[in-house]
């Protein structure tokens, strides 16, 4: 008998869409059951959403004030306390899962499979290495709990239509006080979330300034797109860090990706390889971005972007 435990990620009290991707990955493991674990101060909304995901057997909740913010040092012992009953422990490969899951694995004394792209067998997986320039097949030896993060860009959302029971879980774990949450400087935005948007428009160093980035935002708003950026644009202070796309930023898979004034360094490309269609706008015909773009347009972004905005929508 094998069973899967998925650690849900929350945005405030709401279920983050990455959890639905983990359910799709879990369904390929051939396990007998898939449980979703919610750790929060108020689990109601997220548990309700998780219960509706098709394929989920049971939703388990740990409601406590100390779970109000996701501190890995506080979450890990609670996950470990429940992990003994499971053959697999999964979480999304977002900063939430990347922070938490290795801590869980080490306490369990096992390794972790990072960024699961595909399931080749119950213990065999593929994952990207070298910024996605090679795909590595890994196997976890029998007899060990498999702990893994799920590369969200590789998986579809599990459909809704399920009706799993929601049950509080009893957890006995000693929780550390050595780590304290201070706050989040978030840029709450009305725009579609970068990681789940159908269309994403990104700007790079070529955009030139924070003021000029308005052009990118205007185009995005006209067509309801999420907005991303290259590392160079973030480093230069045009936009905040949570907009960075790439090896060390967000890995995304929108249906349409538009790169504006981005040269196409491998570290950026690895974040967009799973996009359906890639459009590149760059004044340099030799820019590497054109090697992977489905549609390339050579020219000055300060002419092209306003024209696009005017003619679209």
């Amino acid at each position: 008998m094998t069973s899967v435990l998925i650690i849900a990620e929350l945005d405030g009290n709401q279920l983050n869409p990455s959890t639905a991707k983990c359910v799709t990955c879990a369904a390929e493991l051939g396990a007998d059951s898939i449980d979703v674990l919610i750790l929060a101060e108020d689990c109601t909304a997220a548990a309700g959403a998780a219960a509706e995901l098709a394929g989920v057997t049971r939703v388990r909740t740990v409601t406590a004030p100390h779970n109000a913010t996701p501190l890995a040092a506080v979450f890990a012992p609670q996950v470990v306390a429940l992990a003994a009953d499971y053959g697999y422990v999964l979480a999304p490969s977002t900063t939430f899962g990347k922070d938490l899951l290795p801590r869980v694995a080490a306490i369990l004394g096992v390794g972790q499979v990072s960024d699961i792209m595909s399931v080749l067998g119950p213990r065999t997986f593929t994952r990207p290495v070298y910024a996605g320039n090679a795909i590595l097949t890994v196997e976890v030896p029998a007899g060990k709990t498999i702990v893994g993060t799920v590369r969200t860009a590789s998986w579809r959302d599990a459909p809704t239509g399920g009706n799993a029971p929601v049950e509080p879980a009893e957890v006995t774990a000693e929780l550390p006080t050595h780590t304290r949450y201070i706050g989040l400087a978030g840029q709450s935005s009305e725009r579609p979330d970068l990681q789940s948007a159908k269309t994403v428009i990104s700007g790079g160093r070529g955009v030139g300034s924070a003021e000029n980035f308005e052009l990118v935002f205007q185009l995005a708003d006209k067509i309801g797109a999420g907005v991303g950026a290259s590392r160079a644009a973030v480093d230069a202070g045009y936009v905040p860090n949570d907009m960075q796309v790439g090896q060390t930023g967000k890995i995304i898979a929108p249906e349409l990706y538009v790169a504006i004034g981005i040269s196409g360094a491998i570290q950026h490309l690895t974040g967009i390889k799973d996009a359906g269609t890639i459009v590149a706008i760059n004044k340099d015909p030799e820019a590497p971005i054109f090697e992977i773009a489905d549609y390339g347009l050579v020219g000055d972004l300060f002419e092209i972007v306003p024209e696009l905005e005017q003619k679209l929508g």
Binding site: A73, T95, L100, Y130, G186, D242, D294, L297
Partner: protein
């Protein structure tokens, strides 16, 4: 603070175009430029700045790997680290074994702060720091873009998907670096000469008495499928009509 330990991993330079070996047993590293993992360079820089600000007295760089990783330790020494420890291992080790090795080094050396990179750009695992913190039963502050030490605590700003999160941790602790923590200094020629005289201790990994068996076994490497070659369009109108025909814009 007395001592800061810094992880230094030898990796294929980030500018190298990666090629998978024809027999799928790895990627080509013969004749390829090797460097300090970029996140570890940032880790060294941060430790040096803390020492220069009088917040720490010693910076020790640690690398686990074959004899060649001493080159990267020498780079760390040239940047300004005081000493180096080379944990010699002929075999490749995984993140859990690396975390165990760091824990064993901490037990010998003591440490008030350990700074590692958030990920090694070869395996892209993003695990070792978190695993070390778990084994050491100490706090972790991953993906740091700002680090302030105040007596026995550290205040760390973390780059997370939702923005910038700040946490406070008691020392000793493990911090892992993100790209915007600092800009590493350039190494000057005289510093390279000086680095040759700095102490570099070699410890055989077997001496550490840790379990090394890889928990996640690498089986084969493949080249990712290439995206098909696209087309160049000549105007905005042409682009819009192409996107419309695919139903991508209305």
């Amino acid at each position: 603070m007395d001592k800061i330990l810094v992880g230094v991993k030898r990796v294929v330079d980030y500018n190298v175009r990666i090629r998978v070996k024809p027999d799928n047993t790895g990627v080509v590293t013969d004749g390829v430029k090797m460097s300090v993992n970029p996140f570890d360079e940032i880790a060294i820089e941060e430790a040096l700045r803390l020492r220069e600000a009088g917040k720490a007295s010693e910076v020790v760089v640690v690398s686990i790997g074959n004899a060649e990783c001493q080159q990267q330790l020498r780079t760390g020494l040239a940047m300004g680290a005081d000493r180096a420890i080379h944990v010699e291992s002929a075999a490749e080790i995984d993140s859990l074994a690396a975390a165990r090795a760091f824990k064993a080094v901490i037990e010998r050396e003591g440490a008030d702060l350990v700074i590692l990179g958030k990920q090694a750009i070869d395996d892209d695992c993003n695990q070792t720091g978190q695993m070390l913190a778990a084994l050491w039963e100490r706090p972790q502050a991953t993906f740091a873009s700002k680090l302030e030490i105040d007596g026995t605590t550290a205040r760390v700003t973390r780059e997370i998907d939702a923005g910038l999160e700040t946490i406070e941790v008691d020392l000793p602790a493990v911090v892992t670096t993100d790209l915007r923590l600092n800009e590493p200094r350039y190494v000057k020629l005289p510093d390279i000469m000086k680095a040759k005289k700095k102490p570099l201790e070699v410890i055989a990994i077997d001496e550490l008495g840790i379990e090394l068996e890889p928990q996640v076994q690498a089986q084969r490497w493949d080249t990712p499928p290439a995206r098909g070659k696209g087309t160049m369009v000549g105007s905005v109108d042409e682009l819009i009509s192409a996107l419309k025909s695919k139903g991508l814009v209305s």
